[in-house]
């Protein structure tokens, strides 16, 4: 039973074409929802932590939002350097660990 599901699996956008990535979760007692960026051959790089429904965080062209069932990562006017795999993860219940989704592979075409 998947606890964290990301969609789409892959997304190709033209440079400047805004879009959103989805992360839905079914865990109980969410303690935090994390977004990471992973480039090929590298480790996940931290982007945001969201704690409660209604919370939003922004960094450059990225904005993350959280509801009681899902999170969105909005990418505004993306550039080729935004191409990467974006991972969503949750920390929940009494667990001090991250449970990851399968990621969205984002490609921005110049």
């Amino acid at each position: 039973e998947d606890q964290v599901t990301q969609s789409p699996e892959a997304l190709r956008l033209q440079e400047g074409e805004s879009s959103s990535l989805n992360c839905s979760y079914t865990v109980s007692g969410l303690r935090g929802l994390f977004w990471y960026r992973q480039d090929p051959g590298k480790g996940p790089e931290f982007l945001f932590t969201l704690y409660s429904a209604g919370e939003e965080k922004e960094k450059e062209r990225l904005k993350a939002t959280l509801t009681k069932k899902e999170s969105f990562l909005h990418i505004t006017a993306p550039k080729p350097e935004d191409s990467a795999t974006y991972l969503c993860a949750v920390e929940w219940g009494g667990n001090e660990k991250l449970t990851f989704g399968t990621g969205t592979r984002l490609t921005i075409i110049p």
Binding site: R31, F34, Q38, G43, F46, A89, K97, L98, T102
Partner: protein
């Protein structure tokens, strides 16, 4: 100054061999982890240690044995390597729960290939 460093970056070895991966963090974090990323890029936790104490052991074969000599180091030893152990192994660390707003910090990974 690398925050979480792993060695080696690449490891190619034959089936049946024993190998170790080392990890060190200079962030002063309390908890360290080993994650495994499979060929489909799915990251799954294997172990966690808090101040040298094993906290999480996620049904990993007992051929995998983590060791934490101190709070800043977490090593992973694998006995009798199998083809299915081929993956990228990531070390990570995190601060205390109440200060986790900065997330978990990951190393750059060790790509293990068993032939």
């Amino acid at each position: 100054d690398t925050a979480v460093s792993q060695t080696p970056k690449y490891l190619v070895t034959q089936m049946g061999n024993d190998k170790s991966i080392k990890c060190e963090q200079n962030l002063g974090h309390d908890t360290m982890y080993w994650y495994k990323q499979d060929s489909k890029k799915f990251l799954k936790i294997m172990f966690s240690y808090n101040n040298k104490e094993l906290i999480i052991n996620e049904t990993v074969p007992n051929r995998f044995s983590p060791k934490s000599p101190d709070k800043a180091h977490l090593n992973l030893h694998i006995n009798s390597l199998e083809l299915g152990d081929s993956a990228v192994y990531f070390c990570a660390s995190s601060p205390r729960t109440e200060t986790r707003g900065g997330g978990y910090t990951f190393g750059s990974g060790t790509r293990l290939t068993v032939v």
